[in-house]
């Protein structure tokens, strides 16, 4: 009955056709973006240096060029009257499995560090659009938690409608996903394979790093010989799996670890010390409130839920005060979705932190902007409204920490990607039908430890 629109095949077609109707000479989506853009009279929540009432933000060439009570933008700048509106940095989700079409776990071996998330990234998935409409501009797409070492993540900018490579966060640091606890236990224990216990969990990891150390030593010896022009130098075999782990030991990859229990944080830190790598963040980390003071000196952050609990044994001691209590103990705290549902309202999850533990609005907004940016390693480029940073911005009709806020406009690199006032989807770079209905209720849930 529904004939697929030809627009579906050409994401850029809508602005293109609109332009054609106006007889534009040249047109790309980007060309429509003004060189200078000024938001005036907004409540500007900077995430880095407090809130500016009746503030202005100047965007020049995709970057933030000024922020304050006034800005010195050129007279030619396009002005957006933001009276009665709130402006925040784009929301950042440090733990998403969106747009991966269930290819999140290569659950055929507990150690698969060479699996590259980018190979599964489906940039047409509707979950990305729905997150965009919730103000999400950057996501860390992570492997699931079936494996002790799942693989390498991909960082995206949520530029819905652009092609796959244009959605990648340029030069973002590499991240690798580890996991311990119930999920790898269940997946491999269910097959009578190692690891079926936490003992097995951590032994599998130690063995993997022993292998990686040996591999790295082999290459170091070879490279030393080459440096001395030793003609007897024989190149060791390249092994993608060990190469990835060696890069962890070389400190070239951020380690993101899925784990829940207080004892596991201590074990994970001990193993990290033993092999000489650092843990960037514990994900879930629902019991961090128990040992935050011990973990804080390690400078390991957490990406946690606001208030999910009770879905399995290791989530039984979860309390909604975890985030704020851990923060008060000196741990850097981010909130994350791990869900195509919650990713659409992470701002509300941050709002709950005002309720559970009395976070200030500044602290709360940081949990879904600057702190997740730090976990991903892009906090020098996004996550706050500061001069020089990417103009990833969201304009809200209400206080974004309230239940009532709706994103009005979402900008990424200064380019408008979502505008609630537009008919249809509200997207500026896409029109047509999104992919991703395969995850409808008919299928049930993937329980290989994809999420949670």
């Amino acid at each position: 009955m529904h004939t697929p629109s030809p627009l579906r095949l050409i994401p850029h077609a809508a602005p293109l056709l609109a332009c054609a109707a106006l007889a534009c000479a040249s047109f790309t989506a980007r060309a429509q973006q003004p060189a200078d853009l000024v938001f005036k009279n907004a409540t500007v929540m900077t995430a880095s240096h407090g809130t500016i009432e009746h503030g202005s933000v100047w965007v020049h060439a995709g970057k933030i060029a000024g922020v304050g009570a006034t800005v010195s933008a050129p007279a030619s700048a396009t002005v957006i009257d933001a009276t009665g509106l709130w402006l925040t940095p784009g929301i950042i989700d440090p733990h998403s499995h969106s747009a991966l079409d269930n290819d999140v776990n290569e659950a055929t071996s507990p150690v698969t560090p060479s699996m590259m998330m980018i190979d599964a990234f489906d940039n047409r998935d509707k979950a990305l659009y729905q997150a965009l409409a919730g103000g999400v501009t950057t996501e860390l797409l992570l492997h699931g938690s079936a494996n002790m070492i799942g693989g390498q993540a991909v960082v995206i900018k949520n530029k819905v409608g652009l092609d796959r490579d244009a959605m990648l966060f340029p030069n973002a640091p590499r991240s690798i996903k580890f996991a311990s606890g119930e999920n790898p236990k269940r997946v491999y224990g269910g097959r009578d394979q190692l690891p079926s216990t936490r003992m097995g969990n951590f032994e599998v990891m130690r063995q993997a790093f022993e292998d990686a150390k040996e591999y790295m030593a082999g290459w170091d010896a070879y490279n030393a010989k080459v440096a001395k022009n030793d003609s007897s130098a024989v190149s060791p075999k390249r092994d993608l799996k060990l190469e990835a782990l060696a890069d962890v030991l070389r400190g070239k990859i951020y380690v993101q670890i899925h784990c829940y229990r207080a004892d596991e944080f201590l074990t994970e830190e001990a193993i990290a010390h033993e092999y000489g790598y650092k843990i960037r963040a514990f994900h879930h980390a629902l019991e961090m409130y128990k040992v935050g003071a011990k973990i804080a000196p390690e400078q390991t952050a957490i990406a946690t839920f606001a208030d999910w609990w009770g879905y399995k044994d290791e989530a039984w001691d979860a309390i909604p005060w975890n985030a704020v209590m851990s923060m008060r103990q000196g741990v850097k705290v981010a909130l994350k979705s791990d869900s195509n549902d919650h990713i659409r309202r992470l701002n509300q999850e941050a709002g709950k932190m005002v309720h559970y533990g009395g976070a200030t609005e500044d602290e709360a907004i940081r949990m879904v902007t600057l702190n997740p940016a730090w976990i991903i390693g892009v906090d020098d480029r996004t996550g706050s409204i500061d001069v020089g940073k990417d103009a990833d911005l969201v304009l809200w009709n209400h206080d974004p920490l309230s239940t009532y806020a709706r994103a009005q406009k979402v900008y990424i690199d200064g380019d408008l990607f979502f505008d609630v006032s537009l008919p249809g989807l509200g997207t500026t770079h896409f029109s047509g039908v999104m992919d991703g209905d395969s995850e409808s209720r008919d299928d049930g849930r993937n329980d290989e430890g994809e999420g949670q």
Binding site: W308, W309, D317, L401, T403, D435, G436
Partner: protein, 456 residues
Amino acid sequence: MKKLLTLALLLLAAPLALLAADAPKKVIAITGGRLLTVSHGVIENGVLLLADGKIAAVGEAGKVKVPVGAEIVDARGLTVYPGLIDPETNFGLIEIASDQNSSDLAEPSDEIMPHMHVYDAFHSETELIPVARLNGITNAVVAPATDDTIAGQDIFIQLAGADRDAMILGRDVALAMNYGADQRRRGGRGGHSSFPSTRMGLITQLRQTLIDAQDYMAKRDAAAAKKDEKPEITKKDEGKKDDAKPETKKEEKPSKRDLKLEALIPYLKGERPVVIGVYEGYDVETIMGLAQEFHLKVILDHVTHSQQILDKIAAYKVPVIVGSIYDAPRGNERYDAVYTLPAELAKRGVKIAICSADGGGPVSSHSSRNLPYAAGFAVAYGLPYDEALKAITQNVADMFGFGDKLGSLDVGKTANVVLANGDPLDVRTDVKQVYIQGVAVPMVTRQTKLRDQYSK
């Protein structure tokens, strides 16, 4: 001197009175708060009197006389509202979601299980109840999970009480029915692959069941009518007995009770509501056709992907439980296609309730504490505030037969009252005190204990 002594004695007696298991005789006066009455607007600087477990008075300060000796609760700066009611939970049917040993959610051995009574499984000591209560949820409907076409019968509970029976306010208050893709036995979660594996099968089976129940009801009624003419029957029976034919003998005996069919009778008579969980518009039309055929008293549940037939749903003149409001829209739909559903239904005059479920999965009562935020989110997407508050209080009470006892701040209603430091529908608001049947519930859960333990 005498006066002082009496006062001292009174002060000493006060805490003891609160410890009594029964509703306290003492009057509690909640003064100075902003009262959201639900039934008759907002009263700034109001007074609410609680006595004998009920609301004894409600009104503006100065217009309500606070009796001498009443315990004064200073609610200045606080918002006071009736306890919230979650229209769809699994409280007491599961503890840890992944732990099958803790699950009494569903009996998937057959699709037609009206004789499953939630009260037989309800574990009133579940940790989930105090957690929800802490955020102002005081009552809830407990339903079985949705695996079956007819899953069983719901209970209506109060989230505090001396024991299980004190917490169950109503048994078999509604029949839990489901229709759609999830109920097909298609090698799904339960590992089934048998009839009915299509919607055709589901409906045929359901229609046959309801016809069987009608026949059963007719037979039973006929038998009861015969019983009234006792002398004749006795004569006949005696005559047949003389023949000593075993086959006829069987017929004479009162027919064996069929618990399954018997369970359906109150619903065929339209005495109690049938809650029909259904998502797709075309499924709504199919199941409503069947419901009308058998004159069922319907509460529609979910209607998540029924945007195209909202006018038709309004024309059914049945109440609707909307949710999860967080279910994802289709790939060709705007991001807010489901967020706007409560507003679109209310606009058409439909009486709505909102449930607490998270999106994309089965109901999880671990999230029941987020019920007010789902209602608030509906406000963000166009539902008038008053309607949103009703959708988690009075409307739910009305749908399940408790409208005269619960759901608003009105004289004579059960004193289920919440005090919070702001707008109840806002995620930032902290609930300060919950009263159930006029008793201040301890604001303690396993979670607050863990918080306090590690805050030292």
